[in-house]
Amino acid sequence: MTSTIKQQLSSPGGILKFLVKYNTIFIFVLLLIFSALISDVFFTSANLSNLLKQVSGIGIISIGMLIVILTGGIDLSVGSMVALLAVTFAILVNMVILPVAIILTIIIGFGLGSVSGYLVAYQKMAPFVATLALMTIARGLGFIYSKGSPITFKTPGGEFMSNFANNATLGIPNIAIVFFIIVIMAMVMLRYNVFGRLIIAIGSNEEASRLSGIKVNKYKFLVYAISGALAATAAIIVASRTNLGSPNMGMAWELDAIAAVVIGGASLNGGRGTAINTLMGVLILGLIGNILNLLNVPSYPQQVVKGAIIIFAVLLQRFENK
């Protein structure tokens, strides 16, 4: 790996090629330098840990989004799932002991994702349609169970979670550690694990995979279920950060997750995309928001900048494919 990088750098025009190939990392580093130059509070540990805390929730659902997109699908339900599952977790944490609440929430997330997975894999519904339906159902259920208002943690278990979510270990916020562990698990899975390779195979050529005796439906079902479980994980984290579960959480997060995956160079047709690049996508989006906040740019222009960055990143990938 290192030798190929060296070769690339030493060949004529190599530096440019290298930058184009690893463009997400390049953009990320560029943004980091830019941020550091433009604002003196940026490189304070308070700001950086704040940034990491902000992106962790969306980051976790982005990993779920990545594996769904790798199969050629899409999961629009994750934002609403975060809301429903945050409410669910808040209810559970006030009812049962903490480990049970956590496990139950993740199981329920897995179950909700399974519904999308079942519709897509076995009922041959278009992923966009199936998860769109799940999106409104989940949001609606969130409002029904919470009766429209946030549910606060009232038990010691809730207090423990709140402490966990707002503290740091070795200077890194705990919830960011959870996010990074999930990224590393995804990286390992997509490279060294058979399940990960088969997901890529299915997204790249579903018919060929089927002809090779791969149980395509099973894997398509599973990626949505896993995406649901990751949405549950994200929900637990964001609920714990604020000490409550609200049906308004995760609004439009599915779009940010898709944006992160796309900035990370994944193809919406499936088969292409990596966890490390998705991590970069998440960090890039987070950085933009962070630096614009530091510069006191209001939120509407921020959205415009975000969109422009998405276009820029995807255009840059066009070079890579040539």
């Binding site: 088969l198 890529i200 089927r210 002809l211 090779s212 088969g271």
Partner: protein, 507 residues
């Protein structure tokens, strides 16, 4: 009785299969011995693929019996088939572009394997397998970056990765040049010696007679019997396939060729491909053949002229006037047609109806100024072309993916005839097309030429290009290496030019 049972590796007897009300196979028998190369022939739609898919487990038979090594088998899916030692190389490339060569070769094992990937092991095994086939491909490369020829090799390696007892090859050589075909045949002979039973499906009858021991012909879902290859000949097989006499595969050409070229190319050089300094002209009524090995730049030349690739320099002259074709839109505007070799990806719109496919290049003559279609005109135009090309379809509204390969090709051609093209480039006109449809396509090419169109046919099929072309240009490494007049046509001459050798001097 017992002896005859042991004599065959594979016995398929009385196989019948219907899809809905359509009966595809009726009481078909196919018996293959160990170490035998058995050709399975038939026109497209005769039921060859269905029979193979029943064997491999993709489809389930309605009745009949499949016996492998004396035991009845019932593969429920392709994995079952593979475990039993039945491997199929499908006609449509069935590789996964985003995985490595090694992963593709062992994909069927991945589905059933343990938790972790054994990268080193599969890459090493795959490399050995490919090397043993005599081709040069890096097993750790991504399939996306391979050439189509290399992909086909990977496909074959994939079929051989199991302990294969029955190997089925469905049109394996369509993308191969003669050299590669020779290598493939050598490999098949090796497998044959090892006792592997090979079922070989091909429309290239020359190939069949080079390698097959026995031949079974299917016609309309019924087998017409099995015979030894040495007891029959091409004409005999063709007769069985189409059920009628066939005088000559290639129609007699007796068309007046104009004197003034309709289209000239001068010193054309590509920006991104290997094509350079290409010059030629084609006269009205002429069928110009372009031959050459795979990768010599034939398709790229056509794409360059058509504006699909970028040009660096060169001039195009249509009817004496210089034209520019920066994009395919320009080319279509100048009435230059291009029928792609990759029919499914670049030639037709599979999920659309025949009518929509044909109309797509010719909206102008059938629509009003504001862009509304005149549906009556469209139907007249489309039905006329369907009839002229004898496209076999119940109506113009049938989706193209329901047609056979030959009929799809006709639709692709019809698109360009509907704009009254002046020059048409046809890349591999009969790839994956059965004999009956081939003749129709050849006739069609002649008809088109007779109208004064300059037709340029690119083909790897040497008998075909010699059969239909008036003149052959041979490409070698991106430029024309030599030109052959009709009296010089021979496989040897084409091959010599293809590999950059001069012709043998006649004493």
């Amino acid at each position: 009785m017992k002896n005859s049972e042991n004599e065959y590796r594979l016995e398929m007897t009385g196989i019948s299969k219907s899809f809905g009300v359509v009966s595809v196979l009726k009481d078909v028998n196919l018996k293959v011995k160990p170490g035998e190369i058995h050709a399975l022939l038939g026109e497209n739609g005769a039921g060859k693929s269905t029979l193979i898919k029943i064997l491999s487990g993709v489809h389930q038979k309605d009745s009949g019996k499949v016996v492998l090594n004396g035991e009845e088998i019932n593969p429920k899916n392709t994995h079952d088939g593979q475990v039993l030692g039945i491997s199929v190389v499908y006609q449509e490339l069935s590789l996964v572009n985003d995985l490595s060569v090694a992963e593709n070769i062992y994909l069927h094992k991945l589905g059933a394997s343990k938790f972790w990937m054994n990268w080193k092991g599969i890459t090493q095994d795959a490399q050995e397998l490919i090397d043993s086939l005599g081709f040069k491909i890096d097993a750790s490369a991504k399939v996306r970056n391979l050439s189509i020829v290399q992909k086909q090799v990977v496909e074959i390696a994939k079929a051989l990765s199991e302990d294969t007892k029955v190997l089925v090859l469905d049109e394996p050589t369509t993308v191969f040049d003669p050299n590669d075909i020779k290598k493939l045949f050598n490999n098949l002979f090796k497998l044959k010696e090892k006792g592997v039973s090979i079922i070989y499906i091909s429309h290239h009858l020359d190939e069949i007679f080079k390698i097959a021991d026995s031949i079974t012909v299917l016609r309309d879902g019924v087998d017409t019997g099995t015979m030894a290859a040495k007891d029959t000949d091409k004409d005999g097989v063709i007769r069985l396939m189409i059920g009628r006499e066939l005088k000559d595969l290639y129609p007699v050409r007796d068309i007046k060729i104009g004197d003034v070229p309709v289209f000239e190319v001068k010193n054309l050089t590509a920006k991104d491909t290997l094509v350079h300094d290409v010059s030629f002209s084609v006269r009205p009524g002429e069928v110009l053949g372009i031959a050459g090995l795979g990768g010599s730049g034939r398709t790229e030349t056509a794409k360059l002229i058509f504006g699909a690739d970028k040009k660096k320099s060169g001039t195009l002259i249509l009817n004496g006037k210089e034209i520019k074709t920066k994009t395919p839109v320009c080319a279509v505007g100048h009435q230059i047609g291009f029928v792609s070799e990759d029919r499914k990806e670049e030639g037709v719109f599979l999920p659309l109806s025949i009518r929509r496919n044909i109309s797509v290049t010719s909206f102008k003559p059938i629509s009003s100024r504001l862009g509304f279609l005149n549906v009556d005109k469209e139907y007249v135009n489309v039905l006329d072309l369907i009839e002229k090309l004898s496209i076999k379809t119940p109506s113009s509204e049938v989706n193209v993916n329901n047609l056979s390969g030959g009929n799809q090709q006709k639709v692709a051609l019809a698109k360009w005839l509907s704009i009254d093209s002046k020059v048409i480039f046809i890349d591999e006109p009969t790839r994956g097309v059965d004999v009956g449809a081939k003749i129709e396509i050849y006739n069609l090419i002649n008809e088109v030429a007779a109208k004064g169109v300059g037709v340029v046919v690119i083909s790897s099929d040497m008998p075909e290009i010699m059969g239909i072309a008036d003149r052959i240009l041979v490409m070698h490494k991106g430029t024309f290496y030599g030109e052959l007049q009709k009296e010089q046509f021979s496989e040897e001459n084409i091959l010599r030019y293809s590999i950059g050798e001069p012709l043998k001097q006649l004493n």
